[in-house]
Each structure stands twice: as structure tokens, then as C-alpha cells.
Symmetry: C2
């Protein structure tokens, strides 16, 4: 039910995913009657793989997380996360209110032992391949220990999604030299150096879009990460608009634009933000994927696909195992 | 002498500026003999407006600020800043080592009374007009008071450079809602609300490139500001590269690229980072402008031009007067 467009986007995206992945089962959570009415044919086409789970409430996009948690115990969001907690679903995907989704997920699923704070991870556009970054906004103040935990969790996501063995990890800073940065970042660097992770040192803001040739995973404070992510989105939008303006100047430029449309399209596809949609909440005892609220069908499909991969690769289980091993190591040390 | 290319860039840029602005006088600071040799004709062309000031040392781009301050008392950077202190120059422009330039400027010029920390301000590319932002990297941890002082200083720059009366001020945050942000940002918001500034509230990362329609001045912590700035630079570079790649695919796309070259050029000019070169150090008793180390002739010209405007509009004097008025207000309150 969530996002700026609700079922208009989520239903077609769900059907596309069912068609593309024959091993996928989807449970659509929301107001049962209208959903059934819209899905008559689909329920016949996918008798075993498409289910509807009724939820009588919805969390508004601007509702306070605390209120949603208290008053919306039968919201589509809450019911979907309950399904994950009860083992009836492997992941929850939502385009709804981020704060409410995080608060609900944290309340229902609980934290993985050994992890202090949940974090939001996503991929960023780059010319070739992807760089993943976290935290992108769950935490406004992070200690060195938090940043270290983010790195440990993030590496499991990169391994699962990119299928690489030992992802490189960089720490976001305002320079690559040892002396740069604030106290938290400097202390986190020491923890990462001492860890078994493939830590490559400090990286700067431009590394976020430099791709895996530079670094696979970038770790940062949620305030910095969120501002950087939105700065990149803003820059892309501004540049896209300027390009459009240049081609809209007069009839001649418009004609030229039409002629090179396939080139502009292939360029756009490379950096299409819809193909980067989907941020995972890490640190919880269950998978929750947040789609952009303004996602269209393709973008929401991308988020569902991310959930498929992370569920299949058992990212949550791997993070739990990793932190159990760390706890055991500490005990025996 | 500074920057990645030294006199190869700074000399032609200086001559271009002298030619464009007949009221401008430039003092080139550096190794006198080679400078004189390279400027024989220019010294004849501009007998009164081009001067050379000898400096026997240079600060290396990777030299530590502390060492530069201690051991390079006759560096081109230090001598140039001395000229500002002594009233022999209205501003210093350098493409050299940022840390050393800041440390030297702070040591030689001293802080303006009432201002705790210097800050770095610059303009960001946007489709129409400019948004200014500070701090872009001088401070890794800022209190609410620091952010408030940055806003007061930044407004004077925007007034001078853009020629507007009452610039709008936004506070960089991870959401526009009141509840968002860390403690420093929330406390700074209260200070800005209570001030006489045209404070419009929280803005997100995408506002940095949204132009003056959204906001004229964005205030942030130097860590966040630096990461955001470099994220935008990285995104622009990545998008530019992707566009180039799309046009380099085959003979046909290359030919199409040639045909629309003027359009691509007009697009590129809009967001050309060289036209945004030049960051001002604020809070000091004298003007110091830092050019990007990798600046080419056009970019370095932009930095010199910025110094011309800020000197002409007496930005430093206006900041001093503003903080004197604030101090007086406090005394009489």
C-alpha cells in the first residue's frame, strides 16, 4: 500500500517479478477486497505463488514513527514485518514511510545480538559495477564501534549481491591522509585495520560513484551518508536537466536530440536511479528492504529483486553467524 | 608557485585577468628571477599593474601544515599572506596546499573577534544561478554556535558576490522535518530562527545543486560539507564519463557526437566546474581565496576574479562590522 503511488506501482511490479522468477512467491499485504478485485486474473495465473494477506490499516507517508508503532498495529507494514518474524516470509519490501518502517522493523524483529544499531545500505550508480555504502540515514551520530559493526554487516551484503569473496572496505573521510577526519572516524580506522576485513583506508566523497575499481563498500555515519546520497541524486538531476535544456534550445537542437535518442537512452540506462532502488535495513533479525517512495514499476521491481537475492543468499543468517563467531572469539580470548 | 601546474597555469591566468580588468593590480609572489624571465613582455605591457614579490621558498602540496608554518617563513604562500596583513594586497589567491594555506592564513592574519573558527565557502553548480555553501572542510566538528557564525559570515559573501539584499539561509540536514538531525543541527536551527537572518529551515543534500530558487546559502559542518562537495564532483565526473562512453560506442555514435558538439558544449559550460573554482576562507582578518590544486588557466582566472569581487565589496570589513555590532548588542543588552 506504501509509497507515493501505492498499488498502482507495487502490483504491476509484483506481477513482473512473478513472471521473471518462477521460484518466487509473493504475499501482497494490504486491504484484501480491492487487492483481490485488481488481481483476479493474476490469482488464477499464479495460484500457488501469489497470496494476499489482509491488513486493515496503512501508515501515512508523513506519520510519526512513534504514532505508527503505537496506533497502527494492523498496518500493511506491520503485518508484512510480522510475516518475516513468523518465518512466513523471507523478506519484507516496502515503499512506505522510512522512519515508521525502521521503527516497526526494529520493534518486531529485534536487533541481532552484538549489533548496537541498525543501518541502511544501498548501491550507488557508477560507470562500471556498483559501490555499496552504509549507513545512509538510520543513525545521526555513530561511534567508532558502530562504524566497525556497519563494515562487518555491509561486507555480507556485498558478498551476497556481487558474489565476490573479500570485498574491499573504505571509510568515508575528508581526505585520504592518516591525519584527516574527526575522532570517530580515526578510531574506526584503527578498529578496521585490526579487523580481518579487506580495509583499504580512507576514501573521499567522489569514491561513492567511482565503482568497485576504487572500493566495494564505503562505511560512514548516517548523517554524512544520507547527505552524500542526496547530493549525488541532486547532482544527477541537475545535470540531466541541463542536458535536456541544451537539447530543447531550438528546433535544430530538438531534432539533433531525436537523432541521438538511442545514445542518450543507453547513457541514461547506465546511471538510471531506478536500477539502484532498494535499501536494506541491516542489523535486524529479518530482511527488510525499503524502496524509494517515488519508485515507479521498474524501480519497485528492482527492490523486490534485491530482496530475492538477499533472501536466497541468506544475508541475515550470515550476519548472525558472523556476530556469534565474534562473540565466541571474545569469550575464549 | 602553487597547485599541480604552478606558474604554467597561474601566469597566463594572471595576464588574462589584467587584460580583462583595467583596474586590477596583481602582485605575483614567488621565485623572482624565473618569474621575471617569463614575464618580460607583460612587465612592459603593465608597468604599474603587474608586480613581482620575491619569495625564496615553496610549500609542497603534501607538506604538513605545521612544518610549513615552522620551516617555510619565506614561502610564496606566507609572503603573499603577509602582503594582505600589511595592507599591500587586498586579497591572496593560491592554488597551493589547502591545510598549509589555512594554517598560515590563520597564524598571520588572525581571527576576526567574535568568530571562533575559520570556514571555507564556495559556490556549487546548478542549472540556474548559484548556491553557496560553508563549511566545506575547515572544521571536522562544529557546534551550533559555529554553524550560526558560519551563516552570519556566509551571508556577507552571498550579498557581495550575488548582489542580493537578504539571502535565504538553509541548514543542511537529513530531512526537512523539525525532528530530523543531530543535536548540533537542531540547536543551530534554534539559533538561526532567533537571528535576523532570512532562515528558511532544513534543506537536504539535493538542495546544494538546486540553485537559488531553493536556497542562496547552505550552512553545514565541514566534514559533511566536504563529503557532499566531493560527492557532487564525483557524480558529475561519473555522468560525464558515461555520456562520453555512450558517444564513443561506434563510428555512428562518434559521428553523432561531432554533429551535436555545440549542444554538448553549451551543456558542459553550464556545469563547468572551472567556472565554480575558488573557495574563500572566512573569519580571518583578510581575504584568502583557495583555488583547486588542479585548476587550469580558466579555473584559476575564476578564482582571481572571485578575489576581485570580494575585495571590491569589502567582504572582510563587512564581516568585521557585523560581529562588532553583535558584540555591542550583547554588551548593551
Amino acid at each position: 500500500m506504501g509509497g507515493d503511488f501505492g498499488a498502482k506501482v507495487t502490483l504491476p511490479a509484483a506481477l513482473q517479478c512473478l513472471q521473471k522468477n518462477p521460484t518466487l512467491t509473493l504475499i501482497l499485504v494490504g486491504d484484501e477486497d480491492p487487492l483481490k478485485a485488481q488481481l483476479t486474473q493474476a490469482l488464477i495465473d499464479y495460484p500457488d505463488r501469489l497470496k494476499i494477506q489482509h491488513a486493515s490499516q496503512q501508515v501515512a507517508m508523513d506519520e510519526s514513527p512513534v504514532k505508527a508503532l503505537k496506533n497502527k498495529k494492523d498496518s500493511s507494514m506491520r503485518v508484512a514485518i510480522n510475516l518475516v518474524r513468523d518465518g512466513k516470509a523471507d523478506a519484507c519490501v516496502s515503499a512506505g514511510n522510512t522512519g515508521a518502517l525502521m521503527a516497526t522493523a526494529r520493534f518486531v524483529l529485534k536487533m541481532i545480538p552484538g549489533i548496537d544499531r541498525p543501518a541502511i545500505i544501498s548501491t550507488l550508480p557508477s560507470t562500471y559495477g556498483h559501490t555499496h555504502a552504509l549507513d545512509l540515514g538510520a543513525n545521526v551520530d555513530c561511534s567508532a564501534q558502530h562504524l566497525h559493526q556497519f563494515a562487518l554487516m555491509g561486507v555480507e551484503v556485498v558478498k551476497a549481491v556481487e558474489g565476490i569473496e573479500n570485498p574491499s572496505v573504505g571509510l568515508l573521510n575528508i581526505g585520504e591522509e592518516e591525519v584527516k577526519g574527526n575522532e570517530q572516524v580515526k578510531a574506526a580506522a584503527e578498529l578496521l585495520k585490526a579487523s580481518s576485513l579487506n580495509y583499504i583506508g580512507y576514501v573521499e566523497g567522489d569514491s561513492l560513484t567511482a565503482g568497485p575499481e576504487k572500493v566495494d563498500l564505503i562505511v560512514c555515519d548516517g548523517f554524512v551518508g544520507n547527505v552524500a546520497l542526496k547530493s549525488i541524486e541532486g547532482a544527477a538531476k541537475m545535470i540531466g536537466f541541463s542536458l535536456k535544456t541544451a537539447f530543447s534550445k531550438n528546433y535544430l537542437t530538438k531534432f539533433a536530440g531525436l537523432l541521438i535518442l538511442p545514445i542518450l537512452k543507453s547513457f541514461k540506462e547506465r546511471i538510471d536511479p531506478r536500477l539502484y532502488n532498494g535499501a536494506s535495513f541491516l542489523g535486524l533479525r529479518g530482511l527488510v528492504i525499503k524502496s524509494h517512495g517515488g519508485a515507479d514499476v521498474l524501480a519497485f521491481e528492482t527492490a523486490i529483486h534485491l530482496a530475492e537475492i538477499e533472501a536466497e543468499k541468506k544475508v541475515t543468517e550470515k550476519i548472525i553467524a558472523k556476530f556469534e563467531a565474534i562473540a565466541l572469539e571474545k569469550e575464549t580470548a
